[in-house]
Symmetry: C2
Subunit: 375 residues, 2 copies
């Protein structure tokens, strides 16, 4: 195997596939990047137990030659060393392997030798059927996951809740995540004519959001145990979480006693300030109270240290004008941060019922937060 590659381009590819590589793995071959050189491209692969990232570098990018292939072949190179050395090399990089898996990396007067591993020992990529499932804009897909995945659980005791539930039906995709105390649900219209219900690890979707930030369109496949996202030059395979996701439809309240409309950003800033003392509590308690009929008082109290309170004018209020509820301030902040709309509508069902948060003008997105008990 032998090729010469443009420095920047190789650096970028290495840093992309490294996102798939865990530094803690009992399989030493998975600490490496697999490099496959064929006549048309150089392919880099990095993987861990959850995801596989495959990056393809073609011979030319935007009319510029970036790769020159001397001899095809494949090898696995320790990811940390490859990444560190390539970052520090001044110009084009010449990589060559011999039959003993010894790799020579040269750039100008600088010569490095690293021991590689046999590419045949690297786990095989899962097979995917190439019947395209659906095409989707990357911005839309990334937003869909950003608005839901934060609500998933971090507790490994209930593995299904650590993932994000995706339900494909005839004309829409519904994405839900919950940790039992809060829930986020987002729908998008999508014609695909296939039904499926899968649970994807949150960690995979976090990598997706970073990897595909500047892609145009993404192809989405589902195979037996994998979901696959593919842009022009990157493919991300994520394993699925086994199990049955709880039915969350019944959790969403149909009625409310009080509905208030607020400026999203102003409310977020108020909650952020109230969290100052809230962090002294186990549940980051922040209190919301309706005062004088048209104002919302946001307050928190840590009796030993101090208290903070402010009142904000509501944009509108419907239903009962009496309300006092305690919520986890950090959940509220997470919920408000990922709303793009200027206004939010909050539905209250009483001090012991979950609140429902919806951006005004976007019925496809809703969030629930359960109240906390105060003692």
């Amino acid at each position: 195997m032998e090729f010469i590659i443009h420095n920047d381009c190789f650096n970028k590819a290495i840093s992309e596939v490294r996102k798939g590589i865990s530094s803690k793995t009992p399989l030493s071959i998975l600490m490496g990047i697999k490099i496959v050189v064929n006549k048309e491209s150089v392919i880099l692969i990095g993987s861990n137990s959850d995801i596989i990232i495959e990056k393809r570098i073609p011979l030319m990018i935007d009319g510029v030659n970036v790769v020159e292939i001397v001899e095809t072949g494949s090898i696995v190179i320790p990811a940390t060393y490859l990444s560190e050395i390539v970052k520090k090399l001044p110009s084009n990089i010449h990589i060559k392997t011999n039959e003993k898996q010894l790799i020579t990396i040269q750039s100008d007067e600088i010569i490095t030798h690293i021991s590689g591993l046999n590419a045949d020992d690297y786990p095989r990529l899962p097979d995917i059927q190439h019947n395209i499932f659906v095409n989707i804009g990357s911005n839309e897909l990334v937003e869909l996951f950003k608005q839901t995945m934060f609500a998933a659980s971090s507790n490994e005791m209930k593995p299904v809740l650590t993932g994000v539930h995706m339900t494909f039906s005839d004309d829409k995709l519904v994405v839900v995540a919950t940790n039992s105390h809060r829930l986020s649900k987002r729908e998008i219209c999508m014609k695909m004519g296939v039904k499926a219900s899968i649970i994807v690890p949150r960690s995979s979707l976090q990598e997706l959001a970073k990897l595909f930030a500047d892609s145009d369109e993404i192809k989405l496949f589902i195979s037996n145990n994998y979901i696959v996202f593919q842009s022009k030059d990157i493919t991300l395979y994520s394993r699925l979480i086994d199990g049955v996701y709880p039915n969350t439809t019944g959790l969403i309240p149909k009625e409310s006693k009080t509905r208030i409309r607020l400026n999203t950003n102003q409310f977020l800033k108020g909650i952020d300030r109230a969290c100052l003392f809230a962090s002294e509590w186990r549940n980051n308690n922040v209190n919301l109270t309706i005062v004088e009929g048209d104002k919302l008082k946001i307050s928190s109290l840590a009796s030993e240290i101090g208290k903070i309170e402010e009142t904000q004018l509501m944009r509108s209020i419907e239903g009962e004008k009496e309300l006092s509820i305690s919520l986890d301030g950090s959940f509220l902040m997470d919920a408000l941060k990922i709303i793009n709309e200027e206004e939010v509508m909050i539905h209250f069902g009483g001090s012991m019922s979950p609140i429902l948060i919806q951006p005004v003008g976007n019925p496809s997105f809703l969030q629930l937060i359960s109240p906390v008990r105060t003692y």
Copy 2:
């Protein structure tokens, strides 16, 4: 005590004095910021066992009113809460205390109450005699310390070596730091007519470098147990380290077998690359060898993993043309990073003698690094 202060200005002052506050201190009052309000200014004080930072905010800055004093007085406010809340307040900040040390912080519709502490319980500032010792440009002073303090020891077993030694004589100031394996020494001309020899904790000088980065001129005082640095609005008091600093003059070799001249930046980059495998060794071993009479080979080797080598053309060589030495690559990088000059001269006394590094054209600055044994 009561005053109204401009948001940005208060924020900046809090973040400056917080640098002096340790989050781990058995004295809870030292976790607070002391605020003293007199008729002309608001003064903030933060301190730990090593340093005290005093910041003075005058009523006007650049012709703009930033403070309005309602009532003079003093209080100690928990630093973390004060800092967090002030960052998040939208406009001018109104601070008021009552006789029970309860503090009210108000900005627009936002009201916070925090319990304060009695300012009389805060440790007193050390007395300094106001006979000005010396005036010095802040850039010059900060550079002087940056070029030396990194070489001090991190090992608390020899406390004097964790500090930086400052020797004031009739016409110059000599600053030295060493950890027994490397040494950095810098001199500047300075007329002051007083002799003194003190050891200043490295941590204090690190804070100094941050605090006085954009000051013009600094006044420097020395009292019994303190060195004091004072700009227009900030005063930094640092305690001194007790003890006798070793005589380092004898360590500096007077003769050398080989002297080579190199491009500083190119040499630094080469050492950086060689450190790739050097980190596998206990001492970050990097080898320097003269080859072909006019080239320097930089190499490192971790037999299990790989090796890296490169050759650089030397700008000049004097003396013996045979040399092979092993050095701690991270020490070499530290030494080269703080040299501003384009070229360095390196003096070698043999493979077991320390090397001497001097910027070409700057005889006031020198560094020593001891070789490491290779097995």
